[in-house]
Symmetry: C2
Subunit: 376 residues, 2 copies
Amino acid sequence: MVETAAGAFLLPGPVKMHPRVLQAMAAPAMNHRGPEFKEILSEVHDLTQYLFGTRGEVAVLSGSGTAGLEAAVSGLLRKQDRVLNLVNGKFSERFHELCQVFTTPTALSFEWGTAVEPEQVARALDSGAFKAVTLCWNETSTGLTNPIAEIAKVVKDHEAFLIVDGITAVGGLENRMDAWGVDALVMGSQKCLAAPPGLSAVALSKTAYESLHSDTSFYTNLKAHTDALAKQDTPYTPAVPLFLAFREALRMLKEEGLENRIARTRRLAEAARAGVDALGLGVYPDRRFASNTVTAIRYPAGVDDNAFRKELREKHGTVVAGGQGPLKGQIFRIGHMGICDFQDLEAGFLAFETTLAGMGHKAARGAAVAAITKRT
Amino acid sequence: MVETAAGAFLLPGPVKMHPRVLQAMAAPAMNHRGPEFKEILSEVHDLTQYLFGTRGEVAVLSGSGTAGLEAAVSGLLRKQDRVLNLVNGKFSERFHELCQVFTTPTALSFEWGTAVEPEQVARALDSGAFKAVTLCWNETSTGLTNPIAEIAKVVKDHEAFLIVDGITAVGGLENRMDAWGVDALVMGSQKCLAAPPGLSAVALSKTAYESLHSDTSFYTNLKAHTDALAKQDTPYTPAVPLFLAFREALRMLKEEGLENRIARTRRLAEAARAGVDALGLGVYPDRRFASNTVTAIRYPAGVDDNAFRKELREKHGTVVAGGQGPLKGQIFRIGHMGICDFQDLEAGFLAFETTLAGMGHKAARGAAVAAITKRT
């Protein structure tokens, strides 16, 4: 377990979990149709609404974020429905692939590292009868946050559903889903909530909930999941230990306060970007849209991705993610969401500085950590 | 936690878990794309083949048994394909409902508590061009095991796929899937393996694997899951803690030995049925097909289901399941699979005897426990 014994666990998900969350899983078997689990589901339901900042219908599925996205798409749309997929990274590409199975999608693509442009979305929607638009709010692959409020306004003006992948956004970025008019918003348990991977949650607008159908989905039938949770039940056997951990992580979010969690996440991101500057590196995306939950960092010339991450892991017990797709070898990515704290960032950047120095990239000694510490 | 502190946890799933399995979940976050998790998946792959007694392709999905069934049906069949669903209980009914979403199914129904009759299956297959047959091998709702070998022979004679719900069978009942010609066999983690709920595994025949398509599924895309696991990967974020627990439960199965586990499960079932007799009660299903993993027990006249199970739970810390659908109030059901042992059965039957006596149903004092103990 070298990877987690020391240093910092800075993946953009799964993220570090609190011992309270870990221990919640190690409970003896429980009747998931009994009164004890009903109480758990009741608390999970209410705290999930708190997490999303909504009073609308919510569902929690025993499946990863992809299951939540599938539930939203297959529950709201049918094969012949035209959908506009906004694509500017790996996860929005995958969202497009998912829509190819359940709908008739068109991709509107933007260069990786640049944000979705609302005006272009408006023009695309003017050009055809789209029933829905999909957006990856926070592109984990490029460390970029798309301007969701502006995009939502355009989509609402065109009376289409807005289905949002908020997997690395919900619980970490400021969220006004009801005011913006988001119809379906999906989160993943192992990101900003800092629960283990394996659950996803979906929050729905009133119109979206009333439009749900059950014709093309079974395991991810969103209507079945939503209606069941409203009466403290699940349509199929739930992943009980993950629900126990999810509840504990939700309780910890409530204890900290959602607004405080989001503000702290923003401060961590600002500190991370200051650390990047101090190392003489650059953030990958258009800086105006740099994410507050994930920072994507460009490698300096001559630094090998695999060697860098291997040394980080083995010598410093620090875990980060590489680039995906065309960005492989060009960037590395860190998460600073959930219960990540300034000490994690300091340990991480100290390891980056040392490792990069050994590979020929010099920066003022201690400058990155100092830049971070200044922002605590 | 009254439910598990004393007495016996005898649900027909989820079942009692070993502390080793529980503790396996409480591990710190891990990179599911890193070398450590690859090793885990490699071990899970090989031990899952061992569990199924096959050298064929296997997949492990982050979803309940229903997700596994959906993966098999949606991966092998298309909407226009005719499928014969063999229905004789609650779970085979649900399997039929699932097939209504992804195929064009016909139900061939048998009275609950009676077994599927292979001759009738043959006649139905003679009457139409069915691409597949679905079977619930062990009907948890009625405590009945269908004659899978005979049914498989009929299905193979008609050159149809045989897709089997083995959720409460695999790891508890004698399994010759390759010899019988089962094309897709699905298990659930929280049953005979005694892992937590939330994972399902699917084993495939060579023909079935080669027939998989990816056109109508995404999260449960069986080809994607199978191909990924073969190279120690998963198509989407896996429920890491559940994989850790699943591996530990597989290791415990291997330590005991699959044949030994199955033989012990049979002895426990024989003891349970002897206990039922000693209480002067009856098993619900046709006794020739009584299940070795689940026993369904008829209530004597005048015993109220809710009152009985409430008193069991609150006074004896013993948890059993009631009847489902038309059997609600008529039967209660116990599981004796996984790591269930004779002490669990003895504690359970002592609680049954005491509770029934208080409700006016008398049996020779201590006879049930004695009947069980005799078979240890």
